[in-house]
Symmetry: C2
Subunit: 357 residues, 2 copies
Amino acid sequence: MARSTSIRDVAAEAGVSITTVSHALSGKGTVSARTRLRVEEAVERLGYAPNPIARAMRTDRRAVLGFVSEEIASTPYAGKIIVGAQAEAAAHDHVLMIVDIAAGEFDDPRIDALIQRQVDAVVFASASNRVIRLPRSLDPARTVLLDAFDPAAPVPSVVPDEQDIAATAVRALLEAGHRRIAHLTVEGAGPAVTGRVEGYERTLVQAGRTPVVVRAAGEVADAAAGHRAATELFGPTPSQAADAHAGERPTAVFAFNDQMAMGVYQVAEERGMRIGRDLSVVGIDDLQIVAAALRPGLTTVALPHEQMGRAAVRRALEQTGALTAPQAPQTPRAGVERLRGELVVRGSIGPVTVTRS
Amino acid sequence: MARSTSIRDVAAEAGVSITTVSHALSGKGTVSARTRLRVEEAVERLGYAPNPIARAMRTDRRAVLGFVSEEIASTPYAGKIIVGAQAEAAAHDHVLMIVDIAAGEFDDPRIDALIQRQVDAVVFASASNRVIRLPRSLDPARTVLLDAFDPAAPVPSVVPDEQDIAATAVRALLEAGHRRIAHLTVEGAGPAVTGRVEGYERTLVQAGRTPVVVRAAGEVADAAAGHRAATELFGPTPSQAADAHAGERPTAVFAFNDQMAMGVYQVAEERGMRIGRDLSVVGIDDLQIVAAALRPGLTTVALPHEQMGRAAVRRALEQTGALTAPQAPQTPRAGVERLRGELVVRGSIGPVTVTRS
DNA sequence: CTGAAAGCGCTTACAG
DNA sequence: CTGAAAGCGCTTACAG
């Protein structure tokens, strides 16, 4: 942070002009091997590093990406997304500038402040996969959406492949021998809820089974919602459910996410059903604090948060020209990139034990 | 992000020199009321905003603070800290530049990249309150530690007031009438573990009670640790504990954090103890995903994460001169600022029901 | 292969 | 009160 050496000092030290120093360092002009060596030695001796501000001033490139996150505080995965984004940016000599906005506050003036030539492009990260309208202040050609999609704007999106992720969860249950598999979710028509329901139904139908979807009232997919949905699924009272309907009730539950799965655990406990034995459960998210803490541990599909962060930054870098699009030259710049998840096996899926049907 | 209007355009529009525009806008020089008005009108018409890069170039101030976070991905509270830091920075027209480093990787080259005149000062946030050595690349006069303390460097620290926070938790139990209150924690000599034990012991002794501290093996304070500690506390087997020792066993438990409290819930369930009735529990953190999901909800002491973020940024701004220290002129610049927590009441504390002693 | 010069958009002595 | 000029540290045509 102290005033450091400038290109002028290096030039003097090496006995050349600043133009030559710049050429030698950037590799842009032509410089003789001898000269280049002397410049490099001078740089080394002086511990010189170019001033990014001055460079930005000249080139109009800041090597800074904006990262607008909605409700980062209440999003447990935000950390991983940021780590990924940040690592990918660093790999290309960029840094991230973060602005957190309240849910839905797309007109936050700080977004404008960010845009004000402070950043080369911005990644706009939604708190959960859903359809949004791009904030007015953001230029579609300089923005990528993360965990969000705007059908009305030509802007690239990076989202989880909800259908495939649901299919991965359901397959884990099918492969363990389960045939009666229910899906517990919430109300709402967002891509996450809808995509997972579709992935669940398709996979089950392909396996020749009948889907059973129970939606908890409300759109908040937390433990309480899981508790409500599971209570509805297993019928009015604990004892009745365990006895009368034992032969018909699902032997496995695919929960919308790990938090809802936690609610399923609670209902199971209330009714004396042992998870992994009397009832198998799979979630989505791999939310450590829940999935690893539950007893038995929750088998779940990890969402590719870190990769999502990386992918979004890569798209943003392509927009600024700092990174050229890979392989396919005609990759749709405004397309949707869907990322798959991975099954994390813990102890909540067991073989089918109650088989009376 | 498009090339916007410059001070030159404003000058032309207003019919004055760029010097006058600069003076009118910064309020530094003297400008007649009429001229100022014309400049302001021109600014308005053109939608002009000064280029921060050019300004930084001239003034050597970037209005950017670095935020180095350790393991932000695995720290559930990181989001709130960042929100606070970010909001405070924004209130003073600064933005945050975030770099996430792996646990203990203080020599990460990206820290240097950050320092390289990209930021005016940096907030270094540890993943948990502990004693560290300031990374070599950070200047103590331009750094503030968050959730960390370096006894060897003259650098300001912002940390939770562990003792007071523990006292708040214990008092909630005492006020509900509990007399036999155990503290469940882990091994380790960090400020969090030590401070909470001290706060617990002091408060209990003041109330004329005997402290009982159970330390789970290991230093990781998760649900499994809580399970181990609670198992140890309540004795070898479920039935024995419930029967034989009912009159001596603690009626309440103060857990090191919410995750350990979750382990206590699990043990209680295994032994048929109802939380809030047979056993009262209080945690620390107010980790939503756990505290609100548990049944009954966990009463806990919320750590002032957002305020910690704000306080740290305020100290950093004082270092850069962008903010002058409040009240006391001789506030120790390198002092430790301790922030208190707040009790969040849910349903895990009830009156004492078993009172045989 | 090398270097003098212009210029990015501001701020700040300094002169009028 | 107002403005011409220097300069922050680079990069990039352009000339030699």
